[in-house]
Symmetry: C2
DNA sequence: CAAAAACGTTGCGGTAGAGCAATGTTTAAG
DNA sequence: CTTAAACATTGCTCTACCGCAACGTTTTTG
C-alpha cells in the first residue's frame, strides 16, 4: 500500500525506512470511483492526496459554465487544491477522479505537522511548491500568446501522457479550447 | 537601508532585531536606472531581489516578438526568476527595472543557506513560493476563458496599483493583449 | 446484447482581438 | 524650451476560435 509513496519520498529525499514508518500512518487509503468528485468549489480543502493509481483532475468552472483544467495527477503524484489548502479559504477548483483511483490521503493538519517536524517532508513540500510553481509558469508562458495549434504541439512535446491517456474533452479543457476546435486541429497535424 | 526589509520580515515571521542582523549583511544594495535590464533570457538567475523602491518587471518574449509580463514587483516585494533560481537553468524570462529602483540583492547561495539555517527565512521562502503559486493560479483561472474586457475589470478590482502606476503598454503586456485592444477596451468602460 | 448516453467530427455563420497605417499626445533629452 | 522619440487612439481589414446543429461512433449501463 505504501510502496509507491516510499519510493517517491526515497527518490526525492533519500528518506530511511525507519523515518518513513513514522510518517506513513498519517496517510489513509481512500478508494474512489470513476467520475467521483473529491472536492467541490466552495468547500475548504483539508487534505493532500497522493495518487497510488488512477488519475485526478483539478479544474474550475468559469462564468460561462466551461471547465478549465489546471492539472492532472497521475500515479506517483501529489495533488491538492493548493491555494485552498494553504490559506483555508473556499476552493475555486474541483477535484475529480477521472478513473477509478486509489489515493493516499493525509489531513492538512497532519501534513503540516510533518512538514514542520520531519526535514524530508519539509523538503517534499518545498519541492511540491516549487514544481507547482514552475509548472504553472511553464503553462502561462508555454501557452499564452500562442495559437491553439501551437499549444497542442507544445502539449505533444512536453506532456504526451495527457494526450495518450485522456479523452479529447479533457484535453480541450486543459488547453482552454472547445472540443470542436481540438477536433479540427487534430486533423491539421 | 534595511528598514523596509526588516518590517517585511517582522510582519511575516516576527523575526527579532538580533536575528535579522545576522541575515541583513547578506543583502547588498543595488541601484538600477530606469529601463535597466537586470537579467536576460538565457542567463542563469543567481540572485533574489527585494524592492526597496521602484518597480521591477518580469517578462518573457514569445516567438512573435511580443512581451508577456507575469509579475510586477513594487516596493516591499521579493522578485526573482524563480524557475531559473530553483533549478539553475537558463531563464526564459527577463527582469527589468521599469523605474529607477533601489534593490536589496542576495545571492542564491546565501539565500538558500539562510533558508536552511534560519527558520524565519525558511518561512519566508515557503511564503514566497506559496504566494507565487497562488498568484499564478489566480492569474490562470482569473484570466483564461474570459474576454479581454473581463480581464481588465478583474485587474481593476484585484490589482488597481498596476493600472494606476503603469503605462498602457505594460498593462497590455500583463494582460496578454495588444495596446490597441487595451485602448479600445478602456473606451468601453 | 440492446438502448441510451456520451463523445467525436464537420459545416456554417458570428465575433473578439490582431495587424497595420495614420494621426494626435505625452514624455524624454539635448 | 525645443525637437525627437515613445506612447496612445482610432478606423479598416483579416483571421482564429466559438456556438450551434447535424450526424456518426464509441462507451456505458441495465
Amino acid at each position: 500500500m505504501y510502496e509507491l509513496l516510499f519510493k517517491y519520498l526515497q527518490n526525492k529525499t533519500g528518506i530511511s525506512e525507519k523515518n518513513f514508518s513514522e510518517c506513513s500512518p498519517y496517510f489513509k487509503l481512500k478508494e474512489v470511483k470513476k467520475n467521483e468528485i473529491i472536492l467541490r468549489e466552495g468547500e475548504v480543502c483539508r487534505s493532500n492526496y497522493f495518487v497510488n493509481n488512477g488519475c485526478l483532475k483539478f479544474y474550475s468552472i468559469n462564468d460561462e459554465g466551461h471547465q478549465l483544467t489546471r492539472y492532472f495527477a497521475f500515479e506517483s503524484k501529489f495533488g491538492t487544491a493548493l491555494s485552498s489548502l494553504i490559506d483555508q479559504k473556499p476552493s475555486f477548483e474541483y477535484i475529480q477522479a477521472i478513473e477509478k483511483s486509489e489515493l493516499l490521503m493525509i489531513s492538512r493538519q497532519d501534513f503540516f505537522q510533518l512538514v514542520n517536524t520531519v526535514p524530508q517532508i519539509n523538503t517534499i513540500y518545498r519541492d511540491i511548491l516549487e514544481m507547482a510553481y514552475v509548472t504553472s509558469q511553464k503553462r502561462i508562458y508555454g501557452l499564452q500568446g500562442k495559437t491553439a495549434l501551437d499549444q497542442l504541439k507544445w502539449l505533444m512535446e512536453y506532456q504526451p501522457k495527457i494526450l495518450s491517456r485522456l479523452s479529447n474533452k479533457e484535453i480541450a479543457s486543459y488547453l482552454g479550447i472547445t472540443p470542436f476546435t481540438l477536433s479540427r486541429l487534430k486533423s491539421q497535424l
